[in-house]
Symmetry: C5
Subunit: 289 residues, 5 copies
């Protein structure tokens, strides 16, 4: 039975963010051959978890004391995510990592407008809501939507140098209660929000994931760009949007510099800041904007 | 003396959720015979605490850094719950487990509509409220209710792969105060909420337990399903309900993958993600939906 | 100078709640003679602090991970309380106890209605408010009140098996501000609250203590009963009271099973759940309901 | 340039509250000569920091688990305060003290009414606000005020047995916003508040210090009395004041028993509760009420 | 595409605040030659990070228990900031420093009024908003602004003895929502705020940095002065401003005494409070007021 008040959402990668502090001094005290062995084990494991059909992986050097290293795991489903977590937790490198924070979510593409459009079409075709025929047609229309946005649902993690992350929820306050708004009003507000973000097309890549039922906020937002000021400007400008100013609640923000898993030894050595990634996004990631 | 403003509730299992992080690296460093000995002790103890008249037990691999292992203890009463906690705390495995969070509650079946119906019937029979005769009739009617829902009060823990848990309370805000609403209004809102959940019948199994007086929120909610997206959709959709959008406050959410206590050695070894449980729910659990 | 807007309160025992986790595994690793020695030292100290004119003491096995052991200290005054705390802190048992939480308060019997009655009587006698004569008469009337409720002010800790504790304050919100209400309105609300609690007379014993100026909330509430469901029902039912629903703010709740200090070795051994206390309340405690 | 909307304040001692837990068991395990050496070093240092022109010092045995020992440092200015903190941090006693909390503030005497009076006088003398002549006259009047209250600004720490401390701020809520009130209304409310406190003249000694810009709340309040119930009654009664009930926000409260630095060895030994200080306040402290 | 509702901001240094506690007792136990070696390594590294084109650095002795040492890092961009953090984290001194808090931000000069002025000029020139010509003219005007305030964007850290720091955000409450105000109203409020701060010109130096997207609040504020009472008075007085009283939310405050990196050995030795810096601000810093 379809609830006409609730917009459909389509789901892609299962995502786990894990933030660690790194015991740089303890690591530096290890013998070089011990460092090498641990690095080899780690790189082998990360290799399994990066860039495939079943997993993807990003590493970021986090700025400030919230943590030193962020691992972003993508997995095909919760089974694959649990597997990735277990592989990682068994690595010897963990003796030098202290977990600080994490976030569990599922990549989501919201379909506010598409849901409204499908409702309208089915109504125009004279189908009775939630009749067997209606449900069949609805499911078919949704499957077509899913095919359309599949590249966004299953895009690799954007390969850009600067990154920030924050969780957010919609407010349920005395006056401003997102969940008490009519469906049409929510559609209007989300459309205006999307329009505001368009000015940043090509400058930043956004990944929205849903955590309702899985973690403490309703969504997690990852932003990637080649310029950290773009991240700041985008978030600041959208804060003046009607939907953000009245209905958005934000959690803790963190930021950092993405580097390739292959550069991990440089990060661990502390002798040089890892170089910038090649700033060439694959087509899938471009589609995810 | 019966307070006509307060709905009756019926109580089943006493429940303790305990969340732990697992020292996977410390465990891996143990000699195999030491691991075997600890596993044997643990499995013997868990065997006592699973699937009987006096206790039941579920284990979940938790996703993300809030913890690694969730133990859900069911017990016949607080004495049995205290016993389960003490048995578990004495196990050697505790040297490799760090407690992170817990929740104390009692499985509850709310009887908003039944309470209203009994009131009406007794009134129709011409009984004076809170007279001796009225109280006798009320208690008898309630005992009949209890017999009716007994299977739900004493159902085993649902045997489904994916699980999430969150605590919640009803709001007592300036504008939206559940406890200041008339009884009839509360009945109406709860009935609408129940209707919304019906779309998920068979797809998810819900266990509501009350923690008023025992822990920091008023209720704990466990949801089990064969598909984690179902958990997310159910919670998201109900958030648009009138009662949830205006009166619900939610605590911290966590999610994970249930496995059988017999699979604990696999979890501890980290060599393989525990396999899916047989997804066959006993009749009692089915009744608990 | 008496402030006619402020109800009088009468004060009895100074109270300290101390919550600890117990290092059960560390304790179990001790040689039996070492355990015996520590137990003997502890029992001697607890003997001094239990059931006398100057001190009383209760121990509870706490359910869940907030802690394992709650010590409730009663003392004649703050000097005696400081002494109890210092005696306890010096015990060797502390090597196996980790402090988790505490609460400092003074047993209080509020006299909303009595204060109003005395005001009225003095007014009827034609005394000028806050005149020397008025103050003398007021103080005498209050001393009579104190004699009347002395048994409640100095009752021993109720000897019942199940216990819960929570701190609370009165709200000072935009709309609902207890401290901005007229004195008469506060009297009316407290009287209705007391009437609601009467249904539980004999089923539960309540101890209210004030912590204004001493700890983070305004009151601490201890409830004792022979049935934990009674605790839950009492708190749930009172939450619908006008004064609770609009003006009460609640802190963290915890619950457990009271046992006799003499049973501490059983608790420490983990071999058996301590047996139920003799459920016979002394007269003083009965009076405290 | 003087802002007519802002009351003048006069500033005395720079104050640092430092709260510690004491490792009583670790201390007790030390050899007596080691204890003696550490005590001697500590007493020499505390002697430098107590009762002089440049520093004063109070020690309190704190009740409950928030901490065991409170050190209240007074210093002539921030340089002297930094010096006191550094001297204290170098003591060997720190191996047995664990810092738990602290508060940085400056003793403040608010001049709401005096500011209003000076404004009025300068206006009556026909001076133009913020003209050079006006500013000269204002500064002179304020210097006279400072001379008048100098004894309160530089009073030693009150020598009374029982003490409590809490931080507080003025609310800036939707409805009740202290900083948006007209100056005259703030004057009226503060005058009424002061009148309410007068009933406790001689029974309690209050020290207000400001922490705007220095620590997390706007003020810190220390109260001293010979009877802890007086502390509780004073705070409770003032909570019904118009300004407190609507505009005050309170932080965490703690309470304890003041003792002389010379009694520190008794505290450390745990063999006896330190005796009561001589309850004779010097004139300066009396003036600070 | 330019959003006319959002004021332009210009960005300078990337900033990292890092707060540490110092293990003074552990340090004191080191052999003098070990102390010397660590000091030398530290001073060499700090020398690289202070006072250049690419980095600047300030050290403060923090008052109270939030921490002992604050390092304020300025860097040309996020790459340079990541480099500074990595250099610092590898120092042996870290064995005696415990990280407590941090803040990531970018020095910002807001251009509310300039943005409004440019809009007006372009409109007066008859340009169509967001036309290619308009955007070119706008970008040119903004580049001129940036040249004008360049000295403030790239000023060295103010060389004054007393310092305080706090993060802040603008409120998005039911009633007072900064982000829902019209652009003109925001301009008016910010102009009035700036006028209020003018009374402190020359007495205090303020550095505003933005953390939207990077850390948990929207701005960080550093204030420097030769007198700590000036810091307190400035913050207190501005709190009565319309924009602060209604729209500002403040985080945690901390304060301390700035000293030169070359004085670090004195700080570490604990034998003397570091002397006051030469209070001569370079021209750039003066411009930053």
């Amino acid at each position: 039975m379809h609830n006409p008040n609730v917009p459909e959402t389509l789901h892609g990668w299962s995502i786990l963010h894990r933030l660690y502090t790194f015991d740089r001094r303890g690591w530096a005290a290890l013998a070089p051959e011990r460092q090498s062995a641990i690095q080899s084990e780690t790189l082998r494991a990360l290799g399994q978890l990066e860039g495939g059909e079943r997993h993807d992986l990003a590493l970021c050097q986090v700025l400030g004391g919230k943590g030193d290293l962020m691992f972003i795991h993508y997995a095909r489903d919760f089974e694959a995510l649990a597997e990735a977590e277990m592989i990682f937790s068994g690595l010897e490198l963990n003796d030098y990592l202290q977990p600080r924070d994490s976030y569990v979510s599922v990549l989501e593409v919201g379909r506010h407008r598409a849901t409204a459009r499908i409702h309208e079409e089915l109504h125009d075709r004279g189908l009775e809501a939630n009749s067997a025929e209606w449900i069949g047609a609805f499911d078919q229309a949704l499957a077509e939507e899913e095919a359309t946005v599949s590249a966004r649902l299953w895009a690799q993690i954007p390969r850009r140098r600067f990154w920030c992350f924050y969780p957010m929820s919609k407010k349920r306050d005395d006056t401003w209660n997102w969940y008490a708004l009519p469906f049409e009003e929510r559609c209007r507000l989300m459309a205006a929000h999307g329009a505001g973000a368009k000015a940043y097309h090509g400058l930043a890549t956004q990944v929205i994931s849903s955590s309702t039922g899985f973690d403490d906020w309703e969504w997690g937002v990852d932003l990637f760009s080649d310029d950290p000021i773009v991240l700041k400007k985008l978030i600041y400008e959208l804060r003046f949007d009607e939907v953000s100013s009245h209905y958005a609640e934000f959690g803790s923000f963190m930021t950092g510099l993405r580097f390739s898993p292959a550069q991990l030894p440089e990060f661990l050595s502390g002798r040089a800041v890892p170089r910038l990634l090649e700033v060439k996004e694959p087509e899938l990631a471009a589609a995810a904007r």
